[in-house]
Symmetry: D2
């Protein structure tokens, strides 16, 4: 038997937003999987404003590779197109406007008595407006220079961004988040078992994910997990205040909500905590700025040739595993079950086929194939349909710079809902992010620029 | 040709809640349609607590009939089963717990910073809990004593009550509301045309109804109507504060919202107005109590033999037309288009087939057949799915006395949403309405009663 | 109150295929409804090949109008665009290739052991291939010259043709057939009641229509009607052999099949009868040719100034009523229930929203709005989905001249089903209809014609 | 970390229909997987009529185990309940009425000019009528005696039988067939690659399965495979005549049909071949009887202690792998992709949620989870909906002994379709299978038996 098709034996990986403090995670992951994944080129791309950080990361990455003894070329560049050309896997993890823009995303909603959070509600909406035009621009480069490449998108709000890519480009993409793997880890801890013994049937939207059923070695333990969460078992992320859950509510829900659900189901307590924290410690963005500064101080140390402990402690710890396991499954056709952001395609019948959902899917060389989840209870159907309406409208607003769609998007978001609040917040977002929203200001720009 | 089937030539109409101040409206409607509708018996039924009002109404009705010179028997009774036996049309318009209970429905939510309204949000939920067990009891009588009768239900929350009847009894029922006909009247006024020249494609839920398209003599004028509403044309009910609409929002919505939509889309302003009104004038229930007292003073006047003007000015003016036009269409197989509460049956594909919706339907001797509306925009799909989730859960809570379903219902309601608020409000509703919620307290009752 | 919109007081009607022997029916209908419908211009359009018949019909129509004493202008023309300009209602009832082409449609399938019928199966497919390009050409004229006109399409296969129009033009159209009204008449006869006492819930496809429920004065008599049909009550059209129905089958079906269902459910007997008839009397087309000749002999008689009895006896008797009732309902906003061919829009959830279905719909100045029918039994869902698959593919084949789609269409048609039969029949249809299928032969044609 | 749940370390497997000639395959599979699967008890169950064969198989199985040196107990029994008690995996592969009944299934339809095949069309229908009552009886034993056991059903018609089990019992079951794995093998052969390099997206019904997409190392090769099949590459099962496919048809279909599709798409040629074969060689059942006799002669040989070559050559070769891979995946939570018969649950949106479909699914300790396939082309949607309608009705007929449902089932089957044929075939099936259809004859039986 002649084998007519064989896998590529040299893989080129591109990390867009390579100057991020998370990059050493990915480098470590690449090193750890060198036996399964013949990656021999890693290109780190960033924008001019991130040049200094980019070169610090490049130097650290080279030291880490050197220590491993592997033959992997690391290359930092500001030339995105050069990096993308011929790439096999492209990871995106950038932040348009940086942490300063994030601070605004968190502060503006709070002024109007509304949750201010970087991925959910009005804050996530603002981030989507800034991010989607940039990512679609990157996609144009990929369509031209690396049309067969897989793009793994971590850039938040991951669901909205992935939906924009799948609707407005032909790039093969999968959206990723560390919440699902964290949920599995926390459930394993509360059940005193290994994560591998568990099977989770997860489906929802990014940061609005339910584990509808949990099995331990084939036994349905959903109800037990709900009891433990209701009794106060740890079930939150580092960056989310752990407001306790009402046990009656959880039993009535019948599915395990993700930590971000607190913003929707326990809005009052979460808002109160946010306001208090903003006054005492500053917003989350302001806290992260400090940690970032510390991390880069460490990274500069020419003796450092491994991922420092501090990074691990900082949340986002499973990002590297989540992403490189995906590369492994795609390249080696592993057909593993991972929770990813993909085109719905009927998996959740209440949502449009072309909506992006976050769900348990099979990952192999054919890409990510969602499982079929059938119908949800009314409570879950109601919320997911409402939030997806917001997302559909937000994507349209972000792509086309459409003010009315933006106003409707925020009015559909359960965390805003009131037209007047929506209008005030939208107007302030547009004003404060003037530099990052050409899709809304293009006419104005066109007037300013001589033709 | 031998005619094998012919229509009944003597019709018996039963009005449950016959002691209501609205009854003279219905009597007037019956008199006005005597040529199309051979109604010769009108039974007014009420409970012992309403006995005085019932007899005042009976006397007035008899004087109205006498003045008309028609041969119609009017009979007041506290014996519901006797009245129902052999009835052809049964109208329900009662209020369990009276206006005092309504005042609580309006006050309790306000205590927790949430809209307090008799049909929408937590107030309507409380009313549903009280009303549904009673109406299902009436339905048992109808199943036994008048299985072919049509029941026209005005009792609020009309959508929830109709859904409970259609899910838990075999009674043929249609739910009615005066909002749709009021919308048509107001649009006719703003377009300076007759209501008959207009065609409205209405679909949604009771008190959450959109006119998706409006035609004037076959011309689509939806956009013109939206402009006029955005410019401040009168478009509200007597009992709803007329907060102006944002014109951008209306154009983005693309469909004409009913007056009650203000509670959902303009929550903050409506809540502020409610709070202010509650302090200065008392809640709406308290205001209505005064008007009621005045009306019954008038009704007692033995010289009065027609519907007094005061009733007309008081809102609810189209109730009589809405209900007797329906009787006319059912009896005379007119196939008119009316907006009613019926089983969805695929008319709105996003909602379950067995959900009750409010929509344009054809009314003939076959009952009410909804039109097919196809898909709505995401904004409308999101809200309607969310509110229907609340309604499905509220019906289950009301029928089975299920606390967890009740908690979930309120959490699903966009006007409550927060679990803690939901729990506090639910607990207070259950406590305050102890006498009217046997389905929740039956175990306790069972303990008190010797077996 | 100023009335801003008023109806046109002069209506122009265009009959495309005006030389058809059915035209006197329409003229009679126009005369009979002159009080409701201010039609004062009737244009009869035909192609050059039909010129003689056209002028015979024009002369007869003028005599009929004269006799009525009404002021209606009748004008025959070969200039289609001139006739269409400014029209209010356009009726289409032409036959591309005439009865000779129909004879082929009936004969070719029979050669391969398959039902040969002018609207159903392979015969109807051939007719669709010839008709759809012509009707889309007419639609282009209407889009340009009479964009507000309503087009009432009688041209068979009416469902396929209407679907092609609604998918590939912006013309407002409703498809019509005389089967539904005939079903209502026959049921009225078997129930010994008037047609007006009946309500039918009809839904399916053109010539594949079920009456899912029948009411007599509000009483569900579906089961009684099924019994009577099973016992041999007359329930067929003049042109369809009345093979008796199996009573067990009818009860199991639970809905009343239209006469054309015999081709699908009783294929063997219908095929046997067709073969026998083709040998003894010639195909149906050949029989119709004789009647046509006789009719035109009558029409030529200058003494004749009314519709002759012979036409009435010939089937198609309700066409005039069906079509002018529709004009009446559209013009006078009557909101009557008629069974027409319209865009599905969710009325039958198993079929695509943009499929054309035949069903009970409300007709008013807003057009035709289908009722919502909900889910059918598996037996009906299976057949209707299969036949609609054929129709979708046939429309694509007809519009784009796509051979592979045509092959798949015939393979999906339950009356053909076998690929080899499908291929043989398709090849012969394409060959025999060479002159009428430019969409399949355009390249060849383009080569033959000097540019 | 304390591990609270652990897998059972001793597995009991029950083979119902243990006397089948296929059993040595399963024994071999159990031996080969002894490292992954701690099976230490294998119970072979059969009915009295199969006693002789059962003991021949038991003896051979014991010799095979002995040769392997493993510690696995083999036990033959006629006491089904004893065998089932405490079982972990139950495999069903019996044939009610044996090969003689099968011969009737193949002959009766042929008499009426209709495909006679043991799993498809009227033959498969007869087999379903005989099999479903027996399997539901077995399920009652399992519900009582081994409620946690997994039942792997090979008994044909596997789709219908699995649907009956999932609708009418609480047994955890997965239906299996060797067609999908054979398709993968044949595609691997034509692409000159290993089966593992391929990914197939398969979805349809049992014996009506399409590979909608095929990937080779992540590259979509569907179109290439269609070309090769159209060019005559081997693509059939041993027991299905390999009528060549029309290449135009395959391209238009856009998905790879399973070998059994020939019965539906190439009915005429398949029927001709069947008739010819029945006359020259006898029906397939009659041929198999001969092979069976030869095999059992071999099995009796006390020297034989391995699966004989002859069995391998006889078709059904992948049964053992298909079934034991499934046991492996269920027990070891492998999350492998297999094509199995499972509850639809929205995977194919055109079919009911509770229908059983055959499709690519993930198999782990949580059972089998189908992928989401989204919408199919009209051609596939039409056929699959039609055949599923047949299946739904056939299940009801088989479970309830409902004659009218049976008549409708056969009329819905595209291979029968004509009511008269359906009635004749149904009546003859009921007559010939009198002994095996108590659900249809129970009243009669009740009369015969003294109470």
């Amino acid at each position: 038997m002649t084998q007519t098709t064989s896998k590529k034996q040299h893989l080129k990986v591109v990390i867009i937003g390579g100057g991020s403090s998370y990059t050493p995670e990915l480098i470590e992951g690449i090193i750890n999987r060198h036996q399964q994944l013949p990656i021999n080129e890693v290109h780190l791309v960033d924008v001019t404003a991130g040049r200094d950080k980019l070169y610090i990361i490049e130097a650290l990455a080279k030291r880490m590779i050197e220590r491993s003894g592997l033959n992997i070329e690391v290359k930092a560049t500001l030339n995105r197109r050069e990096a993308i050309e011929g790439a096999d896997f492209i990871m995106t993890q950038f932040r348009v406007g940086g942490l300063y823009a994030r601070a605004n995303d968190e502060k503006i909603p709070l002024k109007y008595g509304v949750i201010g959070q970087e991925t959910t509600g009005a804050g996530g909406f603002a981030k989507a407006l800034r991010t989607i035009p940039v990512i679609l621009d990157i996609c144009k480069d990929i369509e031209e220079l690396a049309p067969d490449a897989w793009m793994l998108n971590f850039t938040n709000p991951a669901g909205l961004v992935t939906e924009a890519i799948l609707k407005y480009s032909s790039v093969k993409t999968i959206g990723l988040c560390n919440v699902p793997v964290s949920m599995q880890m926390m459930i394993a801890e509360m059940m005193a078992c290994t994560p591998e013994q568990l099977s989770l049937e997860c489906a929802g939207l990014n940061h609005l994910l339910w584990a509808h059923k949990v099995w331990l070695e084939g036994k349905d333990i959903t109800s037990t997990v709900l009891e433990k969460v209701g009794d106060g078992a740890n079930f939150s992320m580092k960056n989310i205040f752990e407001e306790p859950w009402n046990p009656d509510f959880l039993q009535s829900l019948g599915a395990i909500p993700c930590p971000y659900h607190r913003y929707f189901y326990q809005t009052d307590a979460m808002l109160a905590e946010e306001k208090q924290a903003a006054e005492s410690e500053g917003t989350r963005a302001e806290q992260v700025m400090k940690t970032e500064a510390e991390l880069f101080e460490l990274y500069k140390d020419v003796q450092l040739d491994e991922k420092p402990k501090l990074l691990e402690e900082r949340g986002g710890a499973y990002y590297s595993d989540a992403s490189l396991n995906l590369v492994d499954a795609l390249y080696n056709n592993l057909n593993t079950i991972n929770v990813v952001n993909v085109r719905n395609n009927g998996a959740i019948p209440a949502l449009p086929n072309d909506a992006v959902i976050e769900c348990s899917a099979v990952i192999g060389s054919w890409g990510a194939k969602p499982l079929a989840f059938g119908s949800f209870s009314p409570a879950i159907t109601g919320l997911i349909t409402q939030v997806k309406a917001y997302e559909q409208l937000a994507v349209e607003a972000a792509v086309h710079g459409d003010y009315d769609k933006g106003l409707m998007a925020l009015t559909c978001n359960p965390l805003v809902q009131d037209i007047n609040k929506a209008k005030n917040i939208l107007d302030e977002i547009l004003k404060v992010n003037y530099d990052y929203l050409p899709q809304f200001y293009s006419k104005k720009v066109a007037q300013d620029v001589p033709t």
